[in-house]
Amino acid sequence: MSESSDPASLGPNVRQTAAEMATGDRTETLLQTEDLVKTFGGFTATDSVDFAIEEGELRCLIGPNGAGKSTLLKLITGTLTPTDGAVYYNGHDITDLAPNKRVDRGISMKFQVPSVYGDLTVRENARLPIQQFADGAERRQLVRESIDAAGLSGYEQVEASTLSHGQQQQLEISMAASLEPDLLLLDEPVAGLSVDERAKIAERVTRLNEDEGIAFIVIEHDTDFVGEIADKVTVLDEGDVFREGSIEEIESDPAVKRIYLGEDDGGDE
C-alpha cells in the first residue's frame, strides 16, 4: 500500500555491528522486517521482529523449536501474511506482494521437506523454473548446468522420487538457485543428511554466496554446519530476535545455551 519511490526513506536504519562500522564496509540493506507480528489465534508466532540482512550476506537463523524461524521465513516469502508490521526488500515495501511476485523480484526458497516433483524426472524438475525466462539452446544449457551443479549428471531421466534425500536437497537448491535470485532462503537444508552430504551442501552454499553474490538466510539446528558457512547468526526465541552476532559470540553466550537447553546447565558442554 505505502510503497514509496524513495528507498532511503523506507524503514528504520540498519543496525550495523561494530566490526562493520570499523572496517567501513558500505553494504546495502537487502531485506528488512519491521515490527513483524504473526499470530495464529491466541498464539504469537513472531512478536514484532526487526530483522535485516545485507546484499550478499550469509545469515543463519537458529533457535529452539517454536521460536518462529519458519514463520519468519514464510512471512518473507509471502506464504503467510503478517498480522502487523512490514517487510522491505531492496527498499520497497513488499508486505502486500503475492509470493510469486516476490520470486520475480529475486527471493527464492528451498522448502524444509525436500519439495522436488517426485513423479517428474530430474530434467523436467530442473527445466521448470528455467522455462520462464530462457528458450531454445540457452534453456538447454541452463538446465544442464543446473543438473550438473546438483551433482546429478547422468540422472536426467530418473524420477526425482527415487533420488536419495541428499540428492533431492541438492536438486531443489539447484532449482531455487536457477532463478538467479538475490536472496535464497533455505529451511533446514542439512536435516537428516550424512556428514558427507552435509559437507557438499556447505560447499555449495558457500560457492553460491561467494561466487554469485547470492544472499542467504539459512534456518539450521546443526551448529557445526552453521559455523562452517555463516557470516553472522541470528538467534530467535519466543518469536523475537534474541541475539545477533558471529558464531563464536553466539556459542559462547550462556543465555543462548540456556534457551536452547531450556535450563541453566552451568556452561558445561
Binding site: P99, Y117, E124, R127, P129
Partner: protein, 379 residues
C-alpha cells in the same frame, strides 16, 4: 524448398505432440493410432452402428475436459456437466431462435463460449477466493445440483427465451438439425444416414455424417490437448498438480494457470454439450443429475486421469458397456469398475498397459545374449 522442409516439419510436429506428459511417444504409437482412426472411419461403412457410437465420441470430449482439469491441473471437478449442460442449452436456445445455417453455426460457438465463460466465472471465484482441494470438488458438485434444481423448475411459459421454451423436466425438444456454414456460400446439414456411399463389394451404404464430424472433432481436440499439455504451460499445470506451493515459489501464478485450464476445460465440456444436443436434437435437465455428473469421474479414473489417451478410450469403452447393459445392472457394473480401478489400478488402465509395454521394450533391448526366443523353440 518444400521438399527440404518437410522432414523437419514432421519432426517439429512430433516434438509438439510428444513429451513427458502424454503416453505414446513412439512411432509404434502413432501407427497404432492411425490404425484405430482408420478402423473408426470404416466402422459404420462395414455395418457398425455409427449412430450410437457417435454418442461415445461426443462424450469423449467431456472425458478429455475432465482429464485436463483433474488429471493435469489437479482440480477434481464434478462440475464438467454444468458446462456441458450450459453448452447444450445455449446451443438449443440460439439455434431455435435463429434456425438458419449461419445461426446454427453461431449457436455452436455460443455454446462453447457459454461453457467457457461460466467455467471462468466459477473458477475465478474459487481459485482467487483461496478455495482448494476437496472444497473445489464440493463446490462444483453443488453447482451441478443447483443447475438441476434450477432447470427442473423452468416448465412454466415465463421460462421462454425468444421462441425457445426451456421446458423444465420435459426438456427442450425441436432443436433444429445441426447445419454448418453460411447461406449463399456453403452449407451442410447433418441428416442421419443421408450420405450415400458406394463401397465395392458392399454396394451402396448409407452413412451418418454426424459420426464423422464427432470423430474429427474428437481427434482434433485430443491432438490439440497433447500439444497443450506438453507445452511449457502444460508442464506448469503438472507442477501445480504435484505441489502447488512449491510451484508458486518458483514464481508461477498458480491461480491464473488453474483458471486458464479450468476455462479451457469448461469450453471443451461446452463443445461436448453442443454436439450432444445437436445429435439428440433435444436436451433436458437430466444431464445435471448426480449420476451423470459422476460419470466423467468414473471414465477418467478408470482410463487414467493423468493420460488424455486413457480418458478418451475409457469414456468410449465404459459408455459402450454402460449403454449395452442398461438399467440397474449398468449402475452396478460402473460402480464396480470404479472401485476396482481405484483399489487395483489407481493410476488407471491405460498408463498400466503403457508401463507393461515399455517394460517389455526395455527387456528386449536389455537382452544382449543372442538367445533364441522361447516361442521359437516350441514345436
Amino acid at each position: 524448398m518444400v521438399a527440404a522442409s518437410t522432414p523437419s516439419a514432421i519432426t517439429r510436429l512430433r516434438n509438439r505432440l510428444e513429451g513427458p506428459n502424454t503416453i505414446g511417444n513412439s512411432r509404434r504409437f502413432w501407427t497404432a493410432l492411425a490404425l484405430v482412426v482408420v478402423a473408426l472411419i470404416a466402422f459404420p461403412v462395414v455395418g457398425g452402428t455409427g449412430s450410437q457410437f457417435s454418442l461415445f465420441l461426443v462424450l469423449g470430449l467431456l472425458g478429455l475436459s475432465l482429464s485436463l482439469v483433474w488429471g493435469y491441473a489437479g482440480v477434481l471437478s464434478f462440475g464438467q456437466v454444468v458446462f456441458f449442460g450450459i453448452g447444450a442449452y445455449t446451443f438449443g436456445v440460439v439455434s431455435i431462435n435463429v434456425p438458419t445455417p449461419a445461426g446454427i453455426t453461431g449457436a455452436v460457438f455460443a455454446g462453447v463460449l457459454a461453457g467457457a465463460v461460466v467455467a471462468a466465472l466459477l473458477g475465478y471465484f474459487m481459485f482467487y477466493g483461496g478455495v482448494r482441494d476437496v472444497y473445489v470438488t464440493i463446490i462444483t458438485l453443488v453447482s451441478t445440483l443447483v443447475m438441476l434444481t434450477f432447470m427442473a423448475q423452468t416448465a412454466g411459459s415465463e421460462w421462454t427465451i425468444g421462441s425457445a421454451a426451456l421446458g423444465g423436466f420435459n426438456g427442450m425438444p425441436a432443436i433444429p438439425l445441426l447445419t454448418l456454414g453460411i447461406e449463399g456460400v456453403f452449407t451442410f446439414q447433418f441428416v442421419f444416414n443421408d450420405l450415400e456411399l458406394f463401397v465395392p463389394v458392399l454396394g451402396v451404404v448409407n452413412i451418418d455424417p454426424f459420426y464423422y464430424l464427432s470423430l474429427a472433432v474428437l481427434l482434433a481436440v485430443y491432438l490439440g490437448l497433447r500439444v497443450l499439455v506438453n507445452m511449457d504451460f502444460g508442464r506448469v499445470l503438472v507442477a501445480i498438480r504435484e505441489d502447488e506451493d512449491r510451484t508458486r515459489m518458483f514464481g508461477y501464478d498458480v491461480e491464473r494457470a488453474k483458471l486458464v485450464a479450468f476455462t479451457i476445460g469448461g469450453g471443451l465440456a461446452g463443445l461436448s454439450g453442443v454436439l450432444y444436443a445437436a445429435r439428440n436434437v433435444y436436451i433436458d435437465p437430466s444431464v445435471f443429475q448426480l449420476y451423470f455428473a459422476t460419470l466423467p469421474v468414473v471414465w477418467v479414473s478408470v482410463g487414467g486421469r493423468k493420460s488424455l489417451l486413457g480418458a478418451v478410450s475409457a469414456t468410449v469403452a465404459v459408455e459402450y458397456v454402460r449403454l449395452s447393459l442398461g438399467g440397474e445392472l449398468a449402475l452396478v457394473v460402473v460402480g464396480a469398475l470404479l472401485l476396482v480401478s481405484i483399489l487395483v489400478l489407481p493410476g488407471g488402465i491405460i498408463p498400466w498397459i503403457d508401463d507393461k509395454l515399455s517394460d517389455g521394450r526395455l527387456d528386449v533391448s536389455d537382452v544382449e545374449s543372442p538367445e533364441t526366443p522361447p516361442e521359437a523353440t516350441e514345436p
